[in-house]
Amino acid sequence: MEKIAETEALLLERIAQLDQPRDILKAVEIKQLYARLPSLDPSERGAYGKRINDLKHTLEQAVASIETEKDQAASVPIDVTAPFDVNGSLPSLLATERGTIHPLTREIARLRGIFARMGFVSEESREIDDQFHMFETLNFPAGHPARDDYDTFMTLQRDKDGEPFVAPAHTSTMQHRILLKYHANLEAGEPIAAVVPDRVFRNEDLDARHEHTFYQVEGVYVARDVHAGMLIATLQKFLEEYYGKSLNVRVNPFYFPFTEPSFEFALSCPFCEGKNPDCKVCSGEGWIELLGCGMIHPNVLRAAGIDPEVYTGFAFGCGIDRLVMMKYGIEDVRHLESGKLDFLRQF
């Protein structure tokens, strides 16, 4: 009997080490226990046999429990509260018909992908922000005429400074937070490199070219010895990667309060390459005015505790809706937020 208890402990321990837990039921020790049966006193045989059967039953249960555990580990969890284990496989749901991803989010994923390969982290913006981030930290002092250029939506509620909250009119509203969040990069000898592709709002009357809700990608790069030529080169590289061909770019002087100097950035038309006077995308001009950019104003760096004597950087902001419209030949920006399935199913 002691021998049986001893074997049970031994086998239960061994079970965990087996590739096939079920093999334990064929273990030689069990056969040895059975082999002892004929040598026992007949009055003891009944109890002894029952005890071996109990042992087998215990082992069966242990095997079943381990198998279930292993099965569960092997199957895909469908856990709606935590589906974002990036290393897990995707849940396989049954398709009823072909699904689509919105052309804007599809394009944003592409942009993020290219920038990620170039070493830029992605950040999200927000749908309501305060004027401290939207204007103040970006060197637009209160009353600055450039605040008018943005036609910003404001809330009736006011923040602790007594200012209305705003629906951000550019994703630059995240610039100050990014400079703070990645501040430590600079001390570690690494640049701050981030993009923010997200939703922005402007109080515009709607027409085929104007939406009050649209998407913009903001980019920030700060390190030692960053110069304006690097800004141009970085954007050129990005656009060449995006369009998959070599392109010409040019910058015009411009004015933004948060960059100094500031530029307007244009690229040679990737669709007609300047060869089609009837090109609908560039109106036959061969150039597409694409985005605003510049060297980050020292006041913006200073506001985030970065010494502008030591570090310099550039920032840019580019409309995403226009990229998508040019790419797919979408003639009316209002389609994008319209929720028309006929439109969306084309992508």
Binding site: L93, E127, D205, Q236, N252, Y255, G339
Partner: protein
């Protein structure tokens, strides 16, 4: 901002590149060009002619038959209905097959021909001011007199109208947005100074030290030199500033015995070329100088000022003023007004009042050349929805150091063209905060910047001397102490935007040429870019749902409050409620709520 190529040429003082090249240079180094209009094409056929004979039309009471000398050697017959047509008068003739300039941009331009008018042959037409699109006059044909001609022009039958009056010009329109921080570039002079510097850099390097100022625009003497004024009496005028620092500088003077009349044609044409409208000689001169220097000024009828005073003060609550646009505005206590003893006579820096305007009866005038706080005028203009050319300039922050120069030229031009004489001292009330700037003749203190600082930010390796030359070309004063590399820069008095060393970096980059900056990619270590978990998770959900047949929909983040009210009965709740100022018509028919993804 419209700039005339002819005026640029005149200030720059040397041959300019072709218009296409000029536009390209402006685009690259100054600001985006919105439009280029070729005035020469509009006026290419118009000729100045002499009416030799003028007789009644045999078959029509109101028509005359004129024989004109168009310099062709023989007289040409034109039937004309203008009451002022007469023999020996100089007029503007539009020959057959030419287009009436006022209809040039129309879908179907009016093309003249030679045809019989009531049995008499008429070749083309003699033009009125409105037909030439130079003013609104249709009471008679344009008469050209010696006074109408620009300096050094002569009157001969058959000469080109456009060439004589500077309308053989090209006008380049540059986006205003480019100049948000460049108040000086809202004048022809400012753009000319900038362009001269840009063109100068493209020329071969200067060798002769004597020539270091050679590339600068040639500024008129009246603009460059500081001004002192003579004293005068005749009309008592008391000028006060009760608005403190909201009016950094207020200059005013009274002139007596002026004659209000239409401006000479050259001035009318100059205004038209730059997109302005001729009104009368005094108002036209104030507008002309604003277009040249970006400094607005205003003329009041002296005899309409109650109590012979001109005061800048804050409006009282609920105070009303009727402006030149014929509308009455109820003012706010933060609005700065110009006032006399009887009340407001204009909204400072934006528009004059209807109760003090210049009319054909005006004999005595008060001229005001002031500077107003840019934030203040901007708020006032937004509050009342008032936008004028003067405001566009004041809300960028005009330099208060140019007021005396403009005032001097204003007095000179008005007394020359409208007669009269100075009848009071020139009042000049200046914010003491500007004393230093006036003493230095520079709005900003000297900036000391290392060439290294500039080169690092542009990726260039310019020498100190090269940098100095670039800025000297746009009238900066530059010097470096012996043995020191740092350069001291002093901006000219019209530049209010040069505050920090980075502003010098911008100047150097732009004047040197942004297209010449070295395009190098930044270098970075190979440590992997950090993933953003939140974005990844959303992308995951998006992909999972679309694989299951879902169509991703993007909807608005907010709704109009009316929509919200209707929807509140349903289960859909808007997440953010924005101000009710959202325009009703725009949002009424729009989506319901923001949901990141809907299947």
């Amino acid at each position: 901002m419209k700039v005339s190529v002819q005026i640029l040429q005149q200030f720059i003082g040397k041959a300019l590149p072709s218009v296409d090249e000029l536009v390209d240079i402006i685009n690259r180094q100054l600001g985006g060009v919105e439009n280029v209009s070729d005035l020469a094409a509009i006026y290419k056929d118009a000729k100045i002619v002499k009416i030799v004979e003028c007789e009644k039309h045999p078959n029509a009471d109101r028509l005359n038959v004129c024989k004109i000398d168009a310099g062709t050697g023989e007289l040409i017959q034109v039937v004309c209905g203008a009451p002022n047509a007469r023999a020996d008068m100089w007029a503007v003739w539009l020959p057959p097959a030419s287009v009436v300039p006022a209809t040039y941009a129309d879908a179907e331009p009016f093309v003249l021909d030679a045809r019989e008018l009531r049995g008499v042959m008429s070749h083309g037409m003699l033009a009125a001011g409105d037909e030439l699109a130079i003013n609104a006059d249709h009471d008679g044909i344009v008469e050209v007199t010696l006074e109408d001609l620009p300096q050094n022009a002569e009157l001969r039958a058959g000469i080109e109208f456009a060439q004589t009056f500077g309308l053989d010009d090209t006008v380049i329109e540059i986006e205003n947005k480019m100049f948000t921080h460049r108040p000086d570039c809202f004048g022809q002079l400012g753009v000319a100074i900038e362009l001269a510097g840009i063109l100068g850099e493209r020329e071969p390097t200067l060798i002769d030290h004597e020539d270091v100022y050679n590339h600068r625009a040639k500024l008129p003497e009246w603009y460059w030199g500081a001004k002192s004024f003579t004293r005068a009496t005749g009309l008592p005028l008391e000028v006060r500033n009760e608005a403190g620092s909201k009016v950094p500088r207020l200059m005013a003077v009274a002139l007596k015995d002026v004659t209000i009349a239409p401006s000479p044609l050259w001035l009318q044409c100059a205004l038209v070329a730059l997109g302005s409208k001729p009104i009368n000689n005094v108002v036209d001169i104030t507008n002309y100088l604003m277009l040249m220097t970006a400094q607005p000024s205003h003329a009041y009828d002296y005899d309409k000022l109650r109590g012979a005073t001109l005061t800048a003060r804050l409006a009282s609550d609920g105070e009303k003023v009727e402006l030149l646009n014929g509308k009455t505005y109820e003012l706010h206590v933060d609005d700065v007004v110009m006032a006399d003893e009887g009340g407001a006579i204009g909204v400072a820096g934006i528009m004059g009042g209807a109760n003090s305007d210049i009319t054909h009866e005006t004999k005595n005038i008060v001229l005001e050349v002031a500077t107003f706080d840019m934030y203040g005028v901007r708020k006032t203009s937004m509050r009342h929805g008032l936008f004028t050319d003067a405001l566009t300039r004041f809300n960028k922050g005009q330099s208060p150091l140019q007021n005396d120069r403009v005032m001097g030229q204003l007095i000179a031009l008005i007394t020359q063209m409208a007669g009269g004489s100075q009848a009071s001292d020139v009042a000049d009330i200046v914010d003491p905060a500007l004393d230093q700037a006036r003493a230095d003749s520079s709005f900003r203190a000297e900036l000391k910047v290392e060439p290294d600082f500039i080169n690092t930010r542009l990726g260039l390796t310019l020498s100190g001397a090269q940098i100095e030359q670039l800025l000297r070309n746009v009238w900066f004063a530059c010097y470096a102490e012996k043995g020191e590399s740092a350069i001291s820069f002093t901006a000219p008095f019209w530049r209010t935007d040069i505050e920090i060393p980075e502003d010098i970096v911008e100047e150097v980059g732009r004047l040197y040429g942004l297209d010449k900056l070295p395009r190098e990619l930044p270098q970075k270590s190979i440590s992997p870019t950090v993933k953003n978990v939140s974005i990844e998770a959303k992308q995951h959900i998006r992909e999972a749902l679309s694989r299951a047949g879902g169509n991703e929909v993007l909807t608005y983040s907010f709704v109009h409050h009316d929509v919200e009210r209707i929807e509140s009965r349903s289960a859909v709740l808007p997440i953010e409620r924005l101000a009710q100022s959202a325009r009703q018509s725009t949002y009424e028919h729009q989506g319901r709520s923001r949901c990141v993804h809907a299947v």
